[in-house]
C-alpha cells in the first residue's frame, strides 16, 4: 500500500486516495500513424523490474494527475512531479542515479 506525495497539494496520499494510470510519458499516435507506432502507443509497456515512471491521479483529493518515479522492486520513491511535462526533472533523475548510476530515462511510447 503505497504512499505518494501529491506534487500539487503536498498531501502524502495513501494509495486508496489515488487512482493508477500506468506508464507515464507515452507519446500519442493518432490518425496517419503506422500500425506499429499505434500498437506500441496503445499496448506495449516497459513493465520494468526496477525504476519505473508512473502516472497517478490524486482522485480522492485535488483531482490532479502527477507522475511518480519509483523502484518497483525496493518500493523506493525517487520523487513525484506534475504531469504537464515530457520527462522527469533533473533532480529526480539525479536521485535515481545515486542508486542506479546507469539508468536512462526511457524513450516515450516504448
Amino acid at each position: 500500500m503505497l504512499t505518494l506525495t501529491c506534487p500539487y497539494c503536498g498531501v502524502a496520499a495513501c494509495e486508496t486516495e489515488l487512482a493508477p494510470g500506468g506508464e507515464a510519458h507515452l507519446e500519442r499516435f493518432g490518425p496517419g500513424s503506422s500500425d506499429a507506432d499505434f500498437e506500441a502507443y496503445l499496448f506495449l509497456r516497459q513493465n520494468p523490474h526496477g525504476v519505473h515512471i508512473e502516472r497517478w491521479r490524486h482522485a480522492m483529493g485535488c483531482g490532479k494527475w502527477f507522475h511518480a518515479v519509483r523502484d518497483t522492486v525496493t518500493m523506493e520513491v525517487f520523487g513525484t512531479y506534475p504531469a504537464q511535462t515530457y520527462g522527469p526533472p533533473e533532480e529526480i533523475v539525479a536521485k535515481v542515479r545515486e542508486r542506479h548510476p546507469d539508468w536512462q530515462v526511457p524513450e516515450g511510447g516504448a
Partner: protein, 1003 residues
C-alpha cells in the same frame, strides 16, 4: 490426568470462578484462564480430531501457534469456528464444542482413515481422484466436499460490531515482551510517537516465566516498572489484545485488536482493525518452540516444553503428574525445574545430546532428575493419550533400551524466531547454524519509500535468545527506529539481565536419527493436516524438490496455523531427503495475517446499510414512499417501475409505457451526468472527445454525441447543449458521470494541458426530470413561466427561465420518441418541482415511470443503450451510427483505432432489430447459431441479442442484436437456441420499431 494446582498461577485468580461448557458438559475455570488452561484444569486433554485421519488431538501449545485445540465457539449469532483454545480468554458462560468428529469426540467414525493411513499418503487426493473423469462430479466431489474444512460455518448474521481505525505513528513496536518494552522505552524516550502492541492480555512475554532477573529485579517487576514509565509518556500508546497481523509496503501495518472477546457483553465494537502508517516497525515478536519428530509425537499429552511450563507457572494447571522431557537444548531444563518445583514428578529428561552440561543441566541434576543423555524417544506409548515412552539411542535406528511410564511428554527441538512480519513485505532470512533457525537478515530488510529498511527485528525475533542480548538488541532497535524517523532525544540506556548460560543445541530433525520407515510414518510434522515425516520424504522422492511444491503436495503448513510448528521441521526433513543444506531449500512464503483475523474486522463498518454508499436523487424519498420497485444502477438506486396495489411488475411497466405514449409520464433523470466544459478551446476539446462535430453546434441547441476510447470502442453517449460561445453542458450516462469527467480531466491535464478549457462536474447540482408524452407541453404551460411552445423551443433546442416560479433549464430532447422536455432545476428544489408536475399533470393522468419503461420505449425507437448494445468491444460503426461520426475531423479519440483492419472488416456483427416469428420475447443474451462447429467443437455463432423486451406499443416481443452482416440480411430468419427449450426463430428487421419518421417527438 491434567488438573488444577493449589498454588494458582501468575495470571489466574482462583477466588473468581467461571462457568463454561465444553461439548455440553458444564465445567469450571477461574478468572485469568484461557479456554485451554481451563480444559486442562478439568482433565480434558483430548480436544479435537485431526483433519485427515481423525486422530485424537490434545493441547500442544499455550499460544497462537496451537494447531490442535480449535473449537466451535459461541452459539447462534455469535458462533465462530476454528477458535484457538489457547488464545481464547475464558469468560463466564462460554460455550465451546470440539470439531472434526462424528458422532462424538470420544467415538469418531472418521478414525477409520487412520487405519487406512498407509493408503492415504501425501498426494493421495491428487492421485486418486483424477481418474476416471466421470466419477468426479457425483462421487469424488461430494466426498471431498463432505470431508473438507474444519468446524462449521456460522448460520446467522453476526451480532457484533466491528470497526477500522487509521493511525499514523513514527514507530510501531509489535510485541509486548521485554524486547518490545525495551524498544518502546528507547524510542519513546528519544521522543518518537510510538504505538506498542501486544497480542495477549499480558505484558512481559516469556521472561517472567523463565525466572529472568532484569536490572536487579525479577522480570515481572521490571515489566511493571517499564509499563508505568511508558504510561507516563504522552508520545507512547499501549494496546494489549492487539496483534500485528501484516506488514505491507511503505510502512502500512494491519493490527487486530480484540476488544470484547473476553467480555462479550461489553459495549462497543468487538474487533478493531488498526490501519497503521508508520515510519519504522520494530518487530519484537519473540520465538516459537519447535516440536521434535519422533513416533507417536501427536498423541494427546505430548506438548511443547514451554507450554507445560506456561500452564504450571502462568495458570496453575498441571498437564499431568509424571512428565518426561525430550530435548536437544538447555531451555527444556527450565520446564523440568518448573515441574519439579510445582511438586510434580519429572520422570526423566531425554536429551539427544551426548554430554549435556551447564548451569541448567546441573540444577536439574541437583534436583535429582534423571538425565538420559544421547537418548531419543523411539516411540510414545498409548492409544488416546500418553502412557509412557520407549527410549533408544539417538544415534541408532530405534532399538528400545528402556521404557518410562508418564502422562506428559514435554518436547523441545529449539526455538524459531517469529519472522512472519519481517517477511511479509519482503524481508529476507539467513540460516543461523548456532540456533538451527532462520532469522532476519538485517542487510536485506523490507525497504520503504526512502529506500531504507523500515522493519527492524529485535530480541528473540532477531535470533537474540539470551535475556541480556535480547534487551541490548531491542534497545538498539528502538533507538535506531527513533533516530531514523528524526527523533533527537536521548534514548537512555539498555537494561541488563542475568540468566544462566546455555550450552548450544544439537539440531535434531528425526528422533532417533536412523528411525525406520515404520517410525517415520508415525512421526508427525503437521498435527492439524496430518503430515508426517514419511509424507515429506515421499514428496521428495516423487520429485517435489521445491519447498513450495512440497507444501502444496503434502499440505504441510497449509492448516489454520500456517505451519507455525511444522514449517522448519518439515523443510529440514525435505532438505535431508534431497541431500541439500537447509538454507538452499529455503522457506515457504510468509503471508499475512499472522494468525487468522475475523471477517468482521476486515469488513469494519461496511455492513448492512453501510456496506456500500447508496446514492440518492433529490426525489429518492418520494419514490420510496410511492412503492418504487428498485433497480441498482451503479451506486444509485433508480425506480424500475411503480407497481400499484396487486399489480405485477410487468403490468406496471406496460401501464407506465401506455400512459406515457398516450398522454403524460414523468421520469426522474437526475442521475444523468452533467458536466460543464468552458473556455476558448472548449469546442476544439469536445471535437476531440466526441466522434461527431461539437464545435459547430449553435448556442441554444443540443446535439447527441458519442464518445470512444482511444481503442475505438464506445464508452459513453449523451446530449451536449451549447450554453454560450465558450460553454457546453455535456450529459453523460448515469454510470458515466464521474468516469467521463475523469476522462476529460485526464486528457486536459496530461495531453492538451496548454488548451484553455475548464470542466466542472455539475451532476449533483441539478435534479433533472423528463416530462414525456403528447400532453407534456400542456402540463408545463399549466405551471406557467417560460415559453415552451414549438416556436420558442423547437426539437433539440434548450432554453432557460422559470417554470412555476422555479429556475429551470429546459432541453427539448427525447429518448422515448414522444414529445419530451428534460428539465433541470436546482437539486434542492427537485422534489418540489416533481410534485408540482404531478399536480399539473393530474388532469392528463400523469404517471411516473421507471427505468424499464424508459428502456422499452428507447428500444421501440431503436436507440442504443451504453452497456446493452455496447460491451467494450463495439465501435459506433457496428451500431449503424455512421451519421454521428464526423468525416470532416482530422482527429478524435478513437479515430485511428477505428481504421485498424479488424475494425474495418466488412464481416463484423452489426446492429439490427429482431422480431420473433411467434411474437414471443427472446431470452436476453441469446446467441444465434450458424452452420458447423468451431475449432473447439462448439456450434458456430453469428450474432447475439443485446436488448429484448415485450413491447406494449406493438404487443409483441422486440429485440436488438448484433448479427453478422446484419443490415444486409433484413427479412432473413435466424435461430436462437434457448436453455432447455426449442430454438426461437427471429426475423432480422430494421431496429426502429416505432415512429420511424420521428413525427411524434417533433411537434
Amino acid at each position: 490426568m491434567s488438573s488444577r494446582l493449589s498454588h494458582g498461577g501468575r495470571f489466574t485468580n482462583p477466588s473468581k470462578r467461571l462457568e463454561f461448557r465444553f461439548n455440553g458438559k458444564r465445567l469450571q475455570g477461574v478468572e485469568g484462564d484461557t479456554l485451554a488452561s481451563a480444559l486442562l484444569a478439568n482433565g480434558q486433554m483430548l480436544v479435537g480430531r485431526s483433519f485427515k485421519y481423525h486422530r485424537p488431538r490434545g493441547i500442544v501449545a499455550s499460544g497462537p501457534e496451537e494447531p490442535n485445540a480449535l473449537v466451535n465457539l459461541g452459539a447462534g449469532a455469535r458462533f465462530e469456528p476454528n477458535q484457538r483454545a489457547t488464545t481464547t480468554e475464558l469468560f463466564d458462560g462460554l460455550v465451546a464444542r470440539s470439531q472434526n468428529h462424528w458422532p462424538s469426540l470420544e467415538f469418531d467414525v472418521g478414525v477409520i482413515n487412520a487405519r487406512l493411513s498407509r493408503f492415504l499418503p501425501a498426494g493421495f487426493y491428487y492421485k486418486m481422484f483424477i481418474h476416471p473423469r466421470p466419477l468426479w462430479k457425483h462421487l469424488y466431489e461430494p466426498f471431498i466436499r463432505q470431508s473438507a474444512g474444519l468446524g462449521q460455518a456460522p448460520k446467522e448474521p453476526d451480532a457484533d460490531g466491528y470497526e477500522h481505525l487509521y493511525a499514523h505513528v513514527d514507530v510501531l513496536v509489535v510485541g509486548g515482551g521485554i524486547a518490545g518494552l525495551q524498544a518502546a522505552l528507547a524510542a519513546g524516550r528519544a521522543g518518537a510517537e510510538v504505538l506498542l502492541i501486544e497480542q495477549s492480555p499480558h505484558w512481559g512475554g516469556r521472561a517472567p516465566v523463565d525466572g529472568v532477573m532484569i536490572d536487579g529485579e525479577e522480570a515481572g517487576d521490571w515489566v511493571n516498572d517499564a509499563l508505568q514509565a511508558l504510561g507516563k509518556m504522552t508520545n507512547v500508546t499501549l494496546r494489549d489484545r492487539c496483534m500485528g497481523a501484516g506488514i505491507y509496503d511503505h510502512g502500512y501495518v494491519l493490527c487486530y485488536e480484540r476488544l470484547t472477546d473476553h467480555d462479550p457483553d461489553a459495549e462497543g465494537p468487538r474487533h478493531r482493525l488498526w490501519r497503521v502508517r508508520t515510519g519504522r516497525v520494530v518487530t519484537a515478536t519473540g520465538a516459537i518452540e519447535r516440536p521434535l519428530s519422533f513416533a507417536g509425537n501427536d498423541l494427546p499429552g505430548v506438548m511443547l516444553a514451554s507450554a507445560v511450563r506456561d500452564y504450571i507457572v502462568n495458570y496453575g494447571v498441571s498437564p499431568g503428574d509424571r512428565t518426561v522431557l525430550v530435548t536437544n537444548n538447555d531451555d527444556a531444563y527450565r520446564t523440568a525445574l518448573a515441574v519439579h518445583e510445582a511438586g510434580l514428578t519429572v520422570s526423566g529428561i531425554v536429551d539427544a545430546r551426548a554430554a549435556p552440561e551447564g548451569p541448567l543441566v546441573q540444577a536439574a541434576q541437583e534436583a535429582g532428575i534423571a538425565i538420559h543423555a544421547g537418548r531419543a524417544v523411539a516411540k510414545v506409548k498409548g492409544m488416546r493419550r500418553v502412557t509412557g515412552v520407549a527410549l533408544s539411542a539417538q544415534a541408532g535406528e530405534g532399538a528400545v533400551l528402556a521404557e518410562i511410564p508418564c502422562d506428559v511428554v514435554a518436547m523441545s527441538g529449539g526455538w524459531s524466531p517469529v519472522v512472519h512480519l519481517w517477511s511479509h513485505a519482503g524481508g529476507k532470512l539467513i540460516w543461523d547454524d548456532a540456533s538451527a533457525a532462520f532469522r532476519p537478515d538485517a542487510a536485506r530488510a523490507p525497504t520503504g519509500a526512502d529506500g531504507a529498511g523500515f522493519v527492524i527485528a529485535s530480541g528473540c525475533a532477531n535470533g537474540a535468545f539470551e535475556a541480556s542480548a535480547v534487551l541490548a538488541d531491542a534497545f538498539e532497535a528502538g533507538a535506531r527506529a527513533a533516530a531514523e524517523v528524526g527523533a533527537t532525544g536521548d534514548p537512555g540506556k539498555a537494561a541488563t539481565a542475568e540468566a544462566p548460560e546455555e550450552e548450544p543445541l544439537q539440531p535434531v530433525w528425526m528422533m532417533p536419527e536412523g528411525a525406520s520407515a515404520a517410525l517415520r510414518r508415525k512421526a508427525w510434522l503437521d498435527y492439524q493436516n496430518d503430515v508426517k515425516v514419511s509424507d515429506v520424504e515421499l514428496a521428495a522422492r516423487e520429485g517435489f524438490e521445491s519447498v513450495e511444491h512440497t507444501k502444496r503436495y503434502t499440505t504441510l503448513g497449509m492448516a489454520t496455523d500456517q505451519g507455525k510448528l511444522s514449517n522448519i521441521n518439515g523443510l529440514a526433513v525435505l532438505s535431508q531427503a534431497l541431500g541439500e543444506d537447509i538454507p538452499n531449500v529455503g522457506t515457504t512464503t510468509f503471508r499475512p495475517p499472522y494468525t487468522p483475523i475475523s471477517m468482521g474486522a476486515i469488513g469494519g463498518e461496511a455492513r448492512g446499510e453501510l456496506f456500500q454508499p447508496l446514492r440518492r436523487t433529490p426525489i429518492h424519498g418520494w419514490h420510496e414512499a410511492h412503492g418504487a420497485h428498485w433497480e441498482p444502477v451503479g451506486h444509485w438506486r433508480r425506480p424500475y417501475c411503480f407497481p400499484r396495489d396487486g399489480e405485477s411488475v410487468a403490468d406496471a411497466v406496460t401501464r407506465e409505457i401506455r400512459q406515457t405514449r398516450d398522454s403524460l409520464g414523468l421520469l426522474d433523470a437526475s442521475t444523468l451526468g452533467k458536466i460543464l466544459v468552458q473556455g476558448p478551446d472548449a469546442g476544439r476539446f469536445l471535437d476531440m472527445l466526441y466522434t461527431n462535430m461539437m464545435s459547430s453546434l449553435k448556442p441554444g441547441r443540443c446535439r447527441y454525441g458519442l464518445m470512444c476510447s482511444e481503442n475505438g470502442f464506445l464508452i459513453d453517449d449523451g446530449v451536449v447543449a451549447r450554453l454560450s460561445d465558450d460553454a457546453f453542458l455535456c450529459h453523460t450516462t448515469t454510470g458515466g458521470a464521474d468516469r467521463i469527467h475523469g476522462h476529460m480531466e485526464e486528457w486536459l491535464q496530461t495531453e492538451w494541458w496548454d488548451w484553455k478549457v475548464w470542466t466542472v462536474n455539475l451532476t449533483e447540482q441539478y435534479a433533472q426530470i423528463a416530462v414525456v408524452g403528447p400532453n407534456a407541453r400542456k402540463a408545463l404551460e399549466k405551471l406557467g413561466g417560460m415559453d415552451v411552445s414549438a416556436e420558442a423551443l423547437s426539437f433539440m433546442g434548450w432554453a432557460e427561465g422559470e417554470l412555476g416560479g422555479i429556475p429551470a433549464r429546459v432541453f427539448r430532447i427525447s429518448f422515448s420518441g414522444e414529445l419530451s422536455f428534460e428539465i433541470a432545476v436546482p437539486a434542492g428544489r427537485g422534489l418540489e418541482f416533481w410534485e408540482r408536475l404531478l399536480e399539473a399533470g393530474a388532469e392528463f393522468g400523469v404517471m411516473p415511470y421507471g427505468t424499464e419503461a424508459l428502456h422499452v420505449m428507447r428500444a421501440e425507437k431503436g436507440f442504443i443503450m451504453i452497456g446493452d448494445e455496447t460491451d467494450g468491444t463495439v465501435i459506433p460503426q457496428d451500431l449503424g451510427l455512421h451519421w454521428a461520426i464526423s468525416k470532416k475531423k482530422d482527429d478524435f479519440l478513437g479515430k485511428r483505432a477505428q481504421e485498424r483492419s479488424h475494425m474495418t472488416d466488412p464481416a463484423r456483427w452489426r446492429l439490427v432489430g429482431l422480431e420473433t416469428v411467434d411474437g414471443s420475447v427472446l431470452p436476453d443474451g441469446a446467441y444465434a447459431v450458424a452452420e458447423g462447429l468451431n475449432a473447439t467443437g462448439q456450434r458456430n455463432v453469428q450474432g447475439r441479442v443485446t436488448s429484448t423486451y415485450y413491447s406494449p406499443t406493438l404487443d409483441r416481443g422486440i429485440a436488438m442484436g448484433l448479427v453478422l452482416n446484419g443490415p444486409d440480411r433484413i427479412g432473413e430468419v435466424i435461430a436462437f437456441p434457448t436453455i432447455g427449450g426449442a430454438p426461437v426463430a427471429a426475423r432480422i428487421v430494421n431496429p426502429v420499431f416505432y415512429d420511424p419518421d420521428g413525427e411524434k417527438q417533433n411537434v
